[in-house]
Amino acid sequence: MDRRNFLKIFGSGVATAATGNLLNPAKTNASEDNQATEFYGILVDTTRCIGCRRCEKACAEANGLPVPDIDELTNKSVLEKMRRTSDTQYTIINRYDTEKGPIYVPKRCMHCNQPGCAAACLVKAMRKRPSGHVTWDANCIGCRLCMVSCPFDIPKFEYTKAMPRIQKCNLCYDRYKKGGIPACVEVCPTQVLVFGTRRQILEEGKRRIAADPDKYVNHIYGEYEVGGTSHLYLSSVPFEQIGFRKDLGTVPYPEYSTGFLFAVPFIFVLWPIAMLGINRATKKDDESGHGENHENKEHEKGKH
């Protein structure tokens, strides 16, 4: 290797380290994941869903879960119940009977912009990837604080297994890394699900509402809820009628714990100072020179 080549490589390495990847656009195109600058997400238009449950099947196949029977007769009885995602079902479709007729709603992880689960994790097993996917890793210790912290009750724990995992939708992260789209989006026969960058799908959602204000309620669930999510929902009826909580607020969940976390350094600085100060202040003069060894002090006193 000649010197010029070395310098070039060395220089670009330093530049990359200093500026991220601004100076190295070629690399950005090569692998989309690490360089993703925008969150990806899915727009769910509940007015389009016909409840065929093909997404459930595709999801199970893509994630190695027990594949559900989506025969139409099974669908009929399955859709009669209200279901929730579980450790063997990352996504489910529920039917809600509303004033506008039956509405099918696919439910899965919302992939919050600032996920409570990821903020809660002490080993970063739950992680928000730069591409918007919220994924789980095997260095998890299984404390289940992510389940407590999730406003949508999404992470599910395998209670029945000796070596349990946290199970939830990961927006088909593996398929994404290989340039694919989530399995559910791929099989959906009515394009209920639109996979794209959050900006893209938010724009599309707003366009649909504006184009047909009679059809949709003027709200995109997930635009602001809990600080924004990567799954956005459109609906023709108020969201509480199709099983969405309206009391979650717009504050990102991790922000609730920042107050406590800010207090930590203060306490570590102020407490020792205060306590050592009190300790010195309460010291009696005649004891000076004996330092901290009070135990002996007391017994000595007893001797006299």
Partner: protein
């Protein structure tokens, strides 16, 4: 007053009977001798506790092999945390809070009155952390990964749980340092005793910082369960509530544990300390009473602040009122009354009520007022195996406590060489 009484105790020159440990084999022979049980083995307590403990250990092995689900625990997707976190860890840590409060009073404020009970309290705190917080291993689903936050298999530095985990670990070390002079005295290691003794104040200051943070940190774990905890209990200030309540929770535990130790290990305690003990109880009751009143006041302010008053007229509201009146205000007045009348039995009774109140409070946050809106069929209550494992952990801790108290100078006078030492 206390000092005068102490003066009457004659300190006779004692024979130095502490072991001479020169090398490792000496240590082994000494340890073997000490590990042997002393006295009558077939006591009623042993006869009852041993079968429970053995059953508990079997269940623990079964839990580690089979996972967390039924029949071992009743945990489900709605209630990820149950008795083991709610009682063993969260409540256990609150009860261990006596150690840092007393350390503050004795080493920082230099209230020498309480010195007599400091060793037992620190030991109790240390064992509580070791066993109850250690019970977290059972609750953690992927327990073989438990060292991950320590070895840096991804540090989630911004996670509250990360802080709590590290603080538990460090605080256990700090308490071990605080207690270590006693161990050194037991082993007869004079030089080591001197070095360890000089570390005490540093360990105390460090320990109090850690305690402040992880007592409140346990509450901060629940802070992201904003929409799951009933509005009467949820507030952004639960860390402060946990911290304040840990003061009287810990002291109540000190009163409770102390009065039992004084009965059981009465022969180890000299006459002067026996008499002195009522003074200590009265003092602790005063601290408790003040802390509890502050806590009650804080609860009322937060109740108004969070606009939760309308919820009071509901079953959840009655449960809340029972907690803050029946288990905070009433024992608060009992402590005050007991301290004024110097009535130790009232104080002890109040301590027991306070402890039950703390258990109820901590369980409220973990599963009673948590996800309170789910139907009865999905609600959580402890499974029998969970209860037995918890019981066996508590009993093991008591056995360990008894073993140490019977051998080390915890309640009894330290050896003469140690008293002379400074």
């Amino acid at each position: 007053m206390a000092g005068e009484k102490l003066d009457t105790v004659a300190i006779v020159e004692e024979k130095d009977d502490s072991p001479k440990i020169k090398n490792l084999s000496d240590f082994w022979t000494f340890l073997k001798k000490e590990l042997k049980p002393r006295g009558n083995i077939a006591t009623p307590f042993n006869l009852i506790s041993l079968p429970i403990m053995i059953l508990g250990y079997i269940f623990i092995v079964y839990r580690l092999a089979a996972g967390l689900g039924k029949p071992i625990t009743n945990l489900n997707q709605d209630f990820p945390w149950g008795l083991w976190i709610g009682f063993d860890v969260v409540t256990g840590v609150a009860f261990a809070g006596g150690a840092y409060v007393l350390c503050f009073v004795v080493y920082i404020l230099r209230a020498e009155k309480y010195h007599a009970i400091i060793r037992a309290t620190v030991l109790n705190g240390f064992l509580a952390y070791l066993f109850y917080a250690g019970a977290i291993v059972l609750d953690i689903g992927r327990w073989w990964n438990i060292y991950n936050p320590m070895i840096g298999n991804s540090f989630g530095v911004n996670a509250v749980m990360f802080l709590v985990a590290w603080h538990f670990f460090l605080y256990m070390l700090a308490e071990l340092v605080e207690f270590s002079p006693t161990i050194a005295e037991w082993l007869g290691m004079k030089r080591l005793r001197k070095i360890l003794g000089s570390l005490t104040l540093g360990a105390v200051v460090f320990g109090i910082c850690l305690s402040t943070l992880h007592q409140s940190g346990l509450a901060a774990l629940m802070i992201m369960a904003k929409n799951k905890i009933h509005p009467l209990w949820y507030t952004e200030f639960i860390p402060i509530l946990y911290f304040v309540s840990s003061i009287f929770a810990g002291l109540s535990m000190v009163i409770f544990e102390g009065s039992i130790s004084h009965k059981v290990f009465g022969d180890q305690i000299d006459e002067a300390h026996h008499k002195h003990y009522d003074d200590i109880l009265v003092g602790l009751a005063r601290i408790c009473s003040v802390a509890m009143f502050g806590y009650f006041f804080l609860k009322i302010i937060l109740l108004v602040h969070e606009h939760a008053v309308p919820y009071l007229n509901s079953p959840m509201g009655y449960w809340f009122l029972l907690e803050i009146i029946g288990f905070v205000l009433v024992p608060c007045f009992m402590f005050a009354h007991g301290a004024q009348q110097r009535n130790t039995s009232t104080i002890k009774f109040a301590a027991v009520i306070t402890m039950i109140g703390i258990i109820i409070n901590r369980l409220n946050y973990t599963f009673i007022a948590y996800n309170w809106y789910v139907p009865l069929s999905q609600k959580y209550w402890p499974a029998p195996m969970e209860l037995i494992i918890t019981a066996s952990i508590i009993l093991t801790e008591i056995w360990a406590f008894r073993w140490i108290v019977n051998r080390m100078p915890v309640l009894k006078e330290p050896p003469a060489w140690a008293r002379k030492l400074h």
